[in-house]
């Protein structure tokens, strides 16, 4: 009798346990990522590839996220393109065909995007690509290209941050001449195309010079620019070149007033005794924000815990694109749409929402992102003023 009783009891327990087991079954949503984690242009893919795993880990550790009745976990397949379009093509094929991924973060590099675009377009309607590359602007929002969404704000246009930057420059400094010095590649040429008209429309005279990527000695081109006697030097676009440009410009007595829309506060701070003025667009000044905004502090702490190293303050701002926030935003979109498979519905949900993460992110009617940003204004000696702008 006792053994029968025990047997029933055990069976009952088992029966009670089984439904729980079935109920707790989690499905997975796969996320793909193709960014240049290494290679000469890695600066632009690095932070995205650093931020997404943190979010995925957090979500999974919290037990996943619920859409409808099912709890989902995230699986991240992050591939390093090294900035090579050929690699990226093969990697995207793998993600879409073998891994059957529906959401791809990246690319940030324009030349990678342009190469994978024809192939990606064949999958229009079957997946979403969230990338920050400048050139994506030319493709996004057009019929047949619904799959791509640009996760960075655009310089020009009514909500363009570039226009606001220039307005700020004029308001504080009233320059008459601005000299632009850009890298002779994708990003640099596009910057020239965007900003020359913006300045011209406001009656500011400009000149543009280009330098080869990898240049270290800017003395010749700075001397050439000095002949133009600009009020401000507008160099771009990544810290790699900016540190050298700012230092050499200051040391060589060429130009001591700087205006930047790409790059960080680093070069200005390093040369703080030599500069007279340094106005830079940063998606977010992390050092300040960490102290005031809890979400930012949370991210910084999570980063340090996850990677067990120091937080890269100078690269962090690039996490404004296809990074940490976007994982959560995508989840929110899936929850709003009530599905993890119907790409069209998720896309509609994504484009219609405003998400408050470290940034307040929304999308314009071209499927391009709009988010708030900071203008950091450094003066001689290193005094810092941060102006927050909400477009």
């Amino acid at each position: 009798m006792k053994s029968l009783f025990k047997g029933c009891f055990a069976a009952a327990l088992l029966a009670a346990a089984v439904p729980d087991f079935a109920g707790a079954q989690t499905a997975t949503v796969k996320l793909g990522q193709i960014e240049a984690q290494t290679g000469p242009n890695a600066i632009y893919g690095y932070m995205s590839s650093q931020g997404v795993p943190i979010a995925v880990d957090e979500v999974n550790k919290a037990g996943g996220f619920k859409v409808g009745d099912t709890t989902y976990k995230l699986e991240l397949i992050a591939l390093d393109t090294r900035g090579d379009p050929k690699e990226a093509t093969i990697q995207l094929k793998k993600l879409l065909e073998q891994d059957k991924v529906r959401f791809v973060f990246g690319p940030f590099l324009s030349n990678v995007f342009v190469t994978i675009f024809p192939y990606a377009k064949q999958f229009n309607g079957k997946f979403l690509m969230l990338g920050g590359g400048t050139r994506i602007h030319d493709f996004v929002g057009q019929p047949g290209n619904e799959f791509v969404i640009r996760t960075w704000n655009w310089d020009a246009g009514p909500k363009g941050f570039g226009e606001k930057m220039v307005d700020y420059l004029i308001k504080t400094a009233h320059p008459k001449k601005v000299a632009m010095l850009f890298q002779n590649d994708q990003g640099g040429k596009v910057l020239g195309d965007i900003y020359a008209p913006i300045f011209k429309a406001r009656g500011i005279e400009t000149m543009t010079e280009y330098f080869e990527p990898g240049t270290k000695d800017f003395s010749p081109v700075l001397a050439k620019i000095a002949e133009f006697r600009p009020d401000y030097l507008f160099p771009g676009y990544s810290d790699a070149a900016l540190y050298d440009i700012v230092r050499q410009s200051v040391e060589g007595n060429y130009s001591k007033k700087f205006f930047l829309v790409r790059g960080s506060t680093g070069p200005g701070l390093k040369n703080k005794d030599g500069i007279e003025d340094y106005i830079v667009y940063v998606p977010k000044d992390f050092e300040e924000a960490e102290k005031k905004e809890p979400k930012v502090k949370h991210f910084v702490d999570a980063y340090k815990a996850f990677y067990k190293r120091d937080f890269p303050y100078d690269q962090a701002p690039l996490c404004s694109s296809s990074c940490y926030d976007h994982v959560y935003m995508l989840i929110a979109a899936m929850q709003k749409a009530g599905t993890v498979d119907d790409v069209g519905k998720i896309r509609a949900a994504l484009l219609s929402m405003t998400y408050q993460g470290m940034w307040k992110i929304s999308f314009d009617d071209r499927s391009e992102q709009v988010f708030d940003f900071d203008i950091v204004h450094l003066k001689k000696g290193g005094t810092k003023e941060v102006v927050h702008v909400e477009p």
Binding site: T38, T115, P118, Q186
Partner: protein
């Protein structure tokens, strides 16, 4: 010609494997294999280390596409224009180098300098080449097939066969060339140029010929590559591209017929077989190069051929 037997399984592959990834990797292998074969003709054949083949590769892409764009002609005619231009460039540069009797190292440096100059032109002649932004290639090569008429090569499988057939053709050409009296003159120059000269071989003419042929083949690879990836940029003419081809030839086996293809296969597929962080991949690539030079100077094919011979002798 025995080498060609190895290609047969490749023709049957698409029937067995549906994976687009594998076919894509092989397409890149075939195209880069063509580039490598081109390089091997002037280096493994005539013994001249050139750094110009990447420039020919890039010029092939650019000129073919631009001709198609501006003159509204089909792919193969566009490529013909590219051939004419590449031949012209090769003759001019080759004439300059060989007339001035530039030896070995200096020849490499001067061809490198010229290649860099071409790259800078591609980079800065924005009105023509769109400079650093590169050009999107939406046109496709068309091929006339009996029964189907004119078809566009767009999907993976047609590209696979187009590139495989092209590779086969180039392989046969290179095999025939190296066995002919022209090829033998190349080898004579490679082994001892002064002696060849004394024997009455016009070294100037043969070196020029080898250089030109090599560049024409490289330009063919470039045209295929550009149209397959759908994107042409100045980086195609960069030194790195030349070095890649050299590595493939060395790894596979200099002066062998199949070597360049084997090398292309290994180096193209390696990044996808070994899941390493990218920095490690470049390091592995470098180590392979070093190990090949020090331990396997005859490359994979050379090593294999040696083993086969030894087995034959032993039995």
């Amino acid at each position: 010609m025995k080498a060609l037997w190895f290609l047969i399984p490749l023709y049957l592959l698409p029937l067995l494997i549906r994976s687009d990834v594998v076919l894509t990797v092989l397409i890149f292998t075939f195209v880069l294999g063509i580039l490598a074969i081109g390089f091997n003709i002037v280096f493994g054949g005539a013994g001249q280390l050139t750094m110009f083949h990447a420039a020919a590769f890039g010029v092939g892409s650019y000129v073919t596409f631009l001709s198609m764009l501006h003159f509204s002609i089909p792919f193969w005619l566009g490529y013909l224009v590219a051939v004419l231009i590449v031949v012209l460039i090769s003759i001019v540069i080759g004439w300059i180098c060989f007339k001035f009797r530039l030896k070995e190292f200096y020849f490499a440096v001067v061809t490198l300098a010229f290649a860099e100059l071409f790259r800078l032109v591609a980079l800065n002649w924005t009105s023509m080449t769109n400079g650093t932004l590169g050009m999107l290639v939406l046109e496709k090569p068309t091929v006339w097939l009996p029964g189907s008429g004119v078809i566009k090569i767009e999907e993976t499988v047609p590209w696979y066969f187009l590139t495989l057939i092209s590779l086969t053709g180039i392989l046969i050409f290179s095999a025939l060339l190296m066995r002919s009296w022209i090829g033998r003159n190349f080898s004579a120059i490679r082994l001892n140029e002064d002696l060849a000269q004394t024997l009455g071989i016009d070294t100037f003419r043969y070196k020029l010929l080898a250089f030109t042929i090599s560049n024409v083949i490289a330009s063919f690879a470039g045209a295929l590559y550009g149209f397959y990836t759908g994107y042409i940029e100045p980086a195609y003419l960069a030194v790195a591209q030349s070095l890649d081809a050299i590595a493939m030839v060395l790894l596979g086996g200099v002066s062998t017929i199949l070597g360049p293809v084997v090398g292309a296969l290994v180096l193209t597929s390696l990044p996808h077989l070994i899941e390493l962080p990218a920095e490690m991949r470049v390091a592995v690539y470098g180590m392979i190069l070093i190990l090949v030079i020090l331990l396997m100077p005859r490359g994979i094919v050379g090593l294999a051929a040696g083993l086969v011979k030894r087995r034959a002798h032993a039995s």
